[in-house]
């Protein structure tokens, strides 16, 4: 299958290694990847802020970029939810509605794509660490992806998966929310980050780079652990790209 990579703006500019890992995993599974360089941002910042007219322009453009792609795969539950769930709403009753629905049917979140579309749970990776998984809210509730990343992690050699007691709580990022209401956002990071860190994991695995930004940002600055170690966040794709030694 020819896969078109959907590299969200944040990944492109701030965490390119995640995009690289996605391509590595998919290519190792025998699928060709393309990156359509016309892509920029999915428009979620404007959409979430209520500026739908602005977001609509960006969305229409993005739909054009991925025109004809067999499968569009992105390493962010949030940005994929924007395309799959919110583009159709944003473009409802416009001439672009059909195209939006068509793209929605071809767009997948990375872990979900591996398990549901490719039928793969074991990608042959090794990652000798204790990890916990952080569910990004959009992946969890807009896309209903919960089990797939865990299935993938359980198949990784030497990896120990533990759950935290706030597994379904939000990390508090929420895009512009994190800077418009920094005190609430930080309090939420404290609840979720603390719960994740208390599992005494080495890594917090996530499918949303912006959740990682929030959790890492809070933990590195604030977490005081009895052992002195602060867990780092890592994207699911990076864990899966870790080849067996």
């Amino acid at each position: 299958m020819k896969i078109s990579l959907f590299i969200p703006c944040f990944v492109d500019q701030m965490t390119p290694q995640v995009g690289v890992a996605v391509a590595q995993v998919l290519e190792r599974l025998g699928h060709a990847c393309e990156f359509r360089s016309g892509q920029t941002c999915c428009g979620q910042p404007s959409f979430n802020a209520g500026y739908w007219d602005e977001a609509r322009e960006v969305a229409i453009r993005a739909i054009g970029v991925f025109d004809g792609a067999e499968a569009v795969v992105g390493p962010s539950g949030s940005c994929v939810a924007m395309m799959r769930v919110f583009y159709p709403e944003l473009l409802k009753d416009t001439p672009h509605e059909t195209a939006a629905l068509d793209l929605a049917a071809r767009t997948f979140e990375f872990g979900e794509f591996l398990v549901k579309k490719l039928g793969v749970t074991d990608v042959g990776a090794r990652f000798p660490h204790r990890v916990t998984y952080h569910d990004g809210c959009h992946g969890l509730r807009e896309l209903r992806v919960k089990d797939e990343p865990r299935q993938l992690l359980r198949a990784v050699r030497d990896l120990e998966l533990v759950e935290c007691d706030e597994a379904e709580s939000c990390c508090g990022f929420g895009g512009l929310f994190s800077v418009k209401f920094p005190m609430i956002s930080t309090a939420m990071a404290e609840v979720k980050g603390g719960s994740l860190a208390r599992t005494q994991c080495d890594y917090i695995v996530s499918s949303d780079p912006t959740c990682q930004l929030q959790l890492d940002g809070w933990l590195q600055r604030n977490w005081r652990s009895p052992t002195g170690t602060i867990p780092r966040t890592i994207h699911l794709a990076e864990v899966l790209a870790g080849a067996p030694l």
């Binding site: 920029t40 500026y51 939000c170 940002g217």
Partner: protein, 473 residues
């Protein structure tokens, strides 16, 4: 609170930001509230597990409310006709002011000396107690939580658990001060103090005021849900029973309650059924030994028809006020109930308050959400709560846009529409980020106050991809 509406623009937002900031720093309070909800989560999950299919039950509950709300034009008159046929009297109130006047008139006609009241959020909405007191009528809140809040001089903190933020020591002190009782640390003893205090008051009251949870159209009954028995007493002993309800509480069939009553209890309080679910149709009948001589129902609009007129958010009128969405909301749990400054706190409050009290003053509640969607997941009647927060944001951007914000988003579109500009802008951002971090750049500064920011990579993904010779298109 009513007077504040007229204050300077953005007063509500400023107050929200201020109170939120104060509240999140009160870790003790946050932990206390979180801990108080711990038992709720356990019993809720246990009760939910008794449903053979909770999701189907949610579908049925939302269908029952949807079909009633969307035929309110038919069902409201049907309900009223049946209620009146049962001997009840209906009063219509277009707004809070009219509802207060109606109730004051009824109380005056009844020559009330003592009024007892059971929990009714709609009465909070119209600030009924203040109006009664202003006219010299004493009114006693009989629900334990509401009674505690009344003594504290505070509105409810949570519309189902009114005093969940108050510690037992504070209640003990409060009772000591107002009722002269000795200090105690036992919730049981504190409850018994209130029980003893209240009993004679029920007997003495000549007017009882209650709310209503459902109005059953086909039978003309009102349904009241409660745990303590105080509403039962309020509607049994006084000579006049006045009930206040929003017009949206109509359901068509008595049978709908077979789904809605257990779901309200399970979602909201982790119970299989609330202790008392009572249907009233009018005053005492011939042959009945007790009950009020008169029963009045005040039907309140107060902008509910404005929500009804918005098909997109009409489902927010399906709300059965179970409180489940508050209990799971990270915003509610971190900023607390009072920070909202609204009658209805939490996610559903953030959705409906802009309709009830104006979008320009109250849109910040819709903005103050990470859109995590935990609320919509638990709502027993499947209200699309968190998406409605988005809808409110969109409506605000359309009707009361912030000029600077709009400008920012327009710039964003220009950049996002031009890959070269996007790449160049990104490169500049990445290369200057280290420096920007040291400058008081708005937004960035707000982030950095509490959180670290990683260093930017030298090369973007698109650069790396191109250099690997893999670019397509």
């Amino acid at each position: 609170m009513i007077a504040q509406d007229a204050q300077s623009p953005q007063w509500a937002k400023k107050k929200f930001l201020h109170d939120a900031k104060v509240h999140v720093q009160d870790t003790g309070h946050r932990t206390f509230v979180q801990k108080a909800l711990g038992g709720y989560f356990l019993s809720r999950d246990a009760q939910k597990a008794r449903y053979r299919d909770w999701e189907q039950a949610r579908d049925a509950a939302s269908l029952a409310k949807w079909s009633a709300v969307n035929r309110l034009d038919e069902l409201l008159p049907l309900f009223v006709a049946n209620f009146e046929a049962n001997g009840g009297q209906v009063h219509w109130a277009r707004d809070a002011e009219e509802a207060r006047r109606i109730i004051l008139d009824l109380v005056r006609e009844a020559k009330a000396k003592a009024i007892i009241k059971s929990k009714c959020m709609t009465s909070e909405e119209i600030h009924l107690n203040a109006a009664l007191e202003k006219d010299g009528y004493g009114v006693i809140e009989s629900d334990l939580g509401e009674f505690i809040q009344q003594l504290r001089g505070e509105p409810p903190y949570h519309f189902v658990f009114p005093c969940m933020h108050v510690r037992r020591e504070e209640i003990s002190e409060l009772f000591g001060k107002f009722l002269g009782t000795p200090p105690t640390n036992s919730p049981e003893e504190l409850t018994m103090i209130a029980r003893r205090h209240m009993r004679q008051l029920y007997v003495d009251a000549d007017v009882g005021i209650t709310g209503a949870n459902f109005l059953v159209a086909e039978t003309g009954q009102i349904s009241i849900t409660e745990n303590e028995g105080n509403a039962r007493l309020t509607a049994a002993l006084p000579r006049v029973h006045i009930s206040l309800s929003g017009i949206e509480k109509v359901v068509e069939h008595l049978d709908d309650l077979a789904v809605l009553l257990p779901m309200l209890a399970t979602a909201g309080a982790g119970q299989q059924m609330t202790c008392y679910n009572t249907l009233y149709s009018g005053p005492r009948r011939d042959g009945e030994c007790d009950g009020p001589d008169e029963m009045h129902l005040v039907l309140l609009d107060n902008s509910r028809t404005a929500i009804l007129a918005d098909p997109e958010q009409r489902d927010s009128l399906h709300c059965i006020r179970c409180g489940a969405c508050l209990n799971v909301c990270p915003i509610f749990k971190n900023v607390g109930g009072f920070t909202y400054g609204t009658t209805y706190q939490g996610p559903i409050g953030s959705v409906i308050t802009p309709h009830l009290r104006g979008l320009s003053d109250w849109n910040h509640l819709s903005a103050a959400s990470s859109l995590c969607g935990a609320c919509s997941d638990v709502c027993p009647v499947r209200i699309d709560i968190h998406h409605h927060l988005l809808h409110n944001r969109r409506n605000a951007a359309r009707t009361v846009p912030n000029r600077w914000e709009k400008f920012g988003h327009q710039i964003f579109v220009i950049v996002a529409s031009r890959p070269w500009l996007f790449a160049a802008g990104g490169a500049i951002f990445r290369h200057t980020l280290g420096m920007l971090k040291r400058l008081p750049v708005p937004l960035l500064r707000d982030w950095l106050a509490t959180r670290a920011l990683p260093a930017a990579p030298r090369k973007s993904f698109r650069q790396q991809w191109r250099q690997a010779g893999k670019d397509s298109l």
